[in-house]
Amino acid sequence: MQLTLGPLQYFWPRERTLAFYREAAHWPLHTIYLGETVCSKRCELRTRDWIALADELVAADRQVVLSSLALIEAESELGALQRLVDHGRFWIEANDLSAVQLCRERGVPFVAGPSLNVYNHAALAMLMQDGLRRWVPGVEQGRVLIDELLCALDAEGVARPQVEVVAWGRLPLSYSARCFTARALDVGKDQCGFRCIEHPDGLPLSTREGRPFLRINGIQVQGEEVTDLSPELPALRDLHVDLLRLYPQADGMQAVIEHFVEALAAKTPVAPLGQRNGYWHGEPGMSGVAARA
């Protein structure tokens, strides 16, 4: 099992982003995902900058995958996606059906991102015909569902694609046409001033009892909890998961990488650094609530 660095979900200043990936080039990662998945207005790095960064990281002997937006509305967003696909050198992380179709039309291999809604083996097999090489299950799909899907794929005689499971970070839970950061700051989406750059780990949202609950990140909503699947390595190995996805965070990413390197090398599960991911166990994703679905 190897580690990947998932796409940066937040909006950081250009220099900070570039410095982060300069550092990441030295981490023991199999794959680095690059690109904007949340909001097309975030342009500290433009498409060509991400591609240039991809070229640099490939030179450092990392596989690079270019990630696409989860929600595509405008023609300009579609144009940017087309440029990623047309570049042709890199696999694409398809986070919606538009990316699947463009990859299919151009014969570009792709990774099914977690927002693509692949819930069963038949859908996965179809996407493999379209060029899928790697599957990242959706955040609400836990151990049993992934196991059942892969076994059903085996039973159909279809060779498994690479499987990558989200193992670290705040889970992306939903996307909207509305920008919740702009709403919280009481500015229009079209006049947002790119204020999400002030919140490098998103904007905390708590219940009226003060319980930390969600994170607002532009048009995306995440769970508050930073989930950690490192205690589940035995089960992940049993499933023959190939890759563990770690989502970038503003601080302490190197310590996260080291934590997983240590966990992968250890004979017995290590103490978790982050929080329990209920989804993995077939429960509510959030920990500390009743599991009775």
Binding site: E73, L97, E148, A177, R178, T207, L214
Partner: protein
């Protein structure tokens, strides 16, 4: 433009047909559709009655099979597709690739509509569903502006249906995990958002009420304050020291004033949300839209939204408020 109306049960179906719906959509009484609420939906016998009632009046019946089966349960969705075909419905509305593919291969003559839950927002995404599954129509997610809908009408390979009225999902449909994050019950997998069994109302001294979803406080209401059903997206929360509807207010989408633009754009059908609502809602909302659409058909040049239509729709809206939602850029 065709008017497509919701039916959670037979009385609602009859109300929709009587009030002028061109088509009604409904679901089986299980998790194969996205309104799998207790006491709602149709047995096979009821669907037969519903089809007979609609057909006798020249109208259509669609069956929503728009949830996402996991591998272990896929055969159940296959059977649901078979049943829909055997019952002779006019179309199925599906979101998931394996369900659409099964229907396409086994029942090619049964028209397939891509559900709003399929999250297709662009021409390439629609091309995919058209080339792969031969869809005859797609329902667009409630995320696009009216300009974007107009553009998509020109570039889509198939006719489009858009949401006209009803409760507003603030998130891209089919890609919202907020309910499952809190309850474990997933709209995609289990066909239900914010299930009632997880909802707990608490009365406090002085008449304030709190509402929880699986122990998570969604909102608190003062004695005179109208209380809304607790979906995660319509609660009040603290962000940056302020308490407000951080994601969305309880409100309904209402695009009545856009009828001329949507008609000019070539939108094929308008959808009314609300299979969970009763026959009275279906009757009033359908009747209002029927009148507005008929008036527009007969005299498009001098069509204006009438105050009476709008007040009827507002009175049936969530929180008695309506919005143009994502169709209007300023809402974003």
């Amino acid at each position: 433009m065709q008017l497509v109306c919701p039916a959670g049960n037979l009385p609602a179906l009859r109300a929709a047909i009587d009030a002028g719906a061109d088509a009604v959509y409904l679901g089986f009484r299980d998790q194969t559709n996205a309104r799998a609420f207790p006491g709602l939906n149709f047995s096979d016998a009821e669907i037969r009655q519903g089809i007979a009632y609609a057909r006798a009046r020249g109208r259509s019946v669609y069956v929503a099979l728009n949830t996402y089966p996991d591998s272990a349960r896929l055969s159940h969705w296959h059977r649901a597709v078979d049943t829909a075909a055997e019952l002779g419905v006019d179309a199925i509305i599906a979101a998931e690739m394996a369900v659409l593919d099964y229907a396409c291969r086994n029942h090619p003559a049964l028209p397939r509509h891509l559900s709003v839950q399929g999250s297709a927002t662009t021409a390439p995404a629609l091309r995919y569903a058209h080339e792969r599954f031969g869809i005859a129509r797609a329902v667009l997610p409630r995320v696009l502006s009216v300009q974007q809908v107009e553009r998509l009408c020109r570039t889509a390979p198939i006719p489009l249906e858009v949401f006209a009225f009803g409760s507003l999902c603030i998130m891209v449909e089919g890609r919202c995990q907020l309910s499952s994050y809190v309850t474990g019950a997933s709209p995609n997998r289990h066909g239900v958002c914010s299930p009632a069994k997880f909802v707990r109302w608490e009365e406090h001294a002085g008449g304030t009420r709190r509402v929880r979803l699986n122990d998570v406080l969604i909102d608190r209401f003062e004695p005179e304050e109208p209380a809304a059903y607790p979906t995660v997206c319509k609660g009040r929360y603290g962000v940056g020291g302020e308490i407000f509807h951080a994601l969305e207010e309880p409100t309904s989408l209402n695009t009545l004033e856009l009828i001329p633009r949507l008609a000019r754009a070539g939108v094929a059908a308008l959808k009314i949300e609300g299979r969970q609502r009763g026959a009275a809602y279906v009757d009033a909302v359908t009747r209002t839209w029927r009148a507005a659409l008929d008036r527009h058909r007969d005299a498009p040049a001098d069509w204006t939204p009438q105050a009476q239509w709008q007040s009827t729709l507002s009175s049936h809206a969530e929180g008695h408020q309506t919005t143009l939602g994502p169709y209007h850029r300023a809402w974003h």
